[in-house]
Symmetry: C2
Subunit: 192 residues, 2 copies
């Protein structure tokens, strides 16, 4: 069985995270990222509009999976059960690539105000995707908004734990997501 | 009774919002903002590190008031009752200045990816301030995190409504905040 082999897009993400980590985000150019990844600048721009977007590369795929899972939940299901299904599907994208870059990615984002801002806006986008999918299946808007926020919180908490757990199997992110969502569900009962 | 008279800091915020709105965020310089406000560039830099921060000018004050209100709530109070007190105090900063700039500010932030990112990160900061204040008074971390997210949601929903209501009195933001929080509290019971 072969080792995991990244394609051009994955190599660009890995190269960008390495360079941002080694020399800083502001100091890194698109040309350097392309060179490190072994591709041309125009290949870079076929995959990403600018270097900032490399770090939120998975957002569109993630949003689509979250919405798909929520939309596929039976009509009578509770909003958080629909969110759980969204998180389960979204967990599919967390493979060896995510695990490999997680520690450096976290360091890079923490070190840059611009990237912290971008990362916060990514969460807003994920919440909006879930909220829209919930409203589309008939959840009241305010409940949908809240359920979506819980979904984003659960996703982040799960990712932190999954990335920190050295022995987790590649496909185990879904379990962490459901556990985190269950914790938040229990916490919601203690809000007062 | 005199009309509300803005000081240098307020004039800088008003000038910045006007210029961003008229000619775009990227096209506006610190020198132009200072000139429009009738102050020098060095006065600008005494108040703000850069032009991006003009738009989140109130964040530190808001965070401090939220934390102060939460900290002042009696020990036995439910987490969301503490958050309500934080929101009530934070509402004090929403006066004629906020009301005057609200519509243009919203347009400016919507039009710029960088400012949308910055605005999202501002929400993260407000949530962190509430979460820390709740944990400091003994709320379980996961409950504190969730209660803080509800607080931020309530704050945003309240601000949107307050800003859109032409006849609201200057001091009425607190009422909108508490109403929004009560809606979210009710929604939390329908999450499933």
């Amino acid at each position: 069985m072969g080792r995991w082999e990244p394609g051009a897009r994955e190599r660009l993400v890995l190269a960008a995270v390495d360079l941002f980590h080694e020399q800083g985000y502001d100091e890194t150019t698109v040309a350097q990222i392309a060179e490190r990844a072994g591709v041309t600048r125009s290949t870079f721009f076929r995959h990403f509009p600018d270097k900032r977007d490399v770090l939120v590369a998975g957002q569109a795929a993630l949003s689509a999976l979250l919405a798909e899972g929520i939309g596929a939940t039976p009509a009578g299901a509770a909003p958080l059960d629909a969110v759980a299904e969204g998180l389960r599907r979204a967990a599919e994208v967390y493979g060896p690539m995510s695990r490999e870059i997680a520690p450096r990615l976290e360091a890079v984002v923490s070190a840059s105000a611009e990237l912290r801002d971008r990362s916060a806006q990514k969460s807003v986008g994920l919440a909006a995707a879930m909220e829209d999918a919930l409203v589309a299946r008939g959840t009241a808007p305010v409940v949908a908004r809240l359920a979506a926020e819980l979904g984003v919180l659960a996703h982040h908490r799960a990712f932190e734990r999954w990335a920190a757990e050295p022995d987790a199997a590649g496909g185990a992110m879904a379990r962490y997501s459901i556990e985190a969502l269950d914790e938040l569900r229990a916490a919601a009962a203690s809000l007062g």
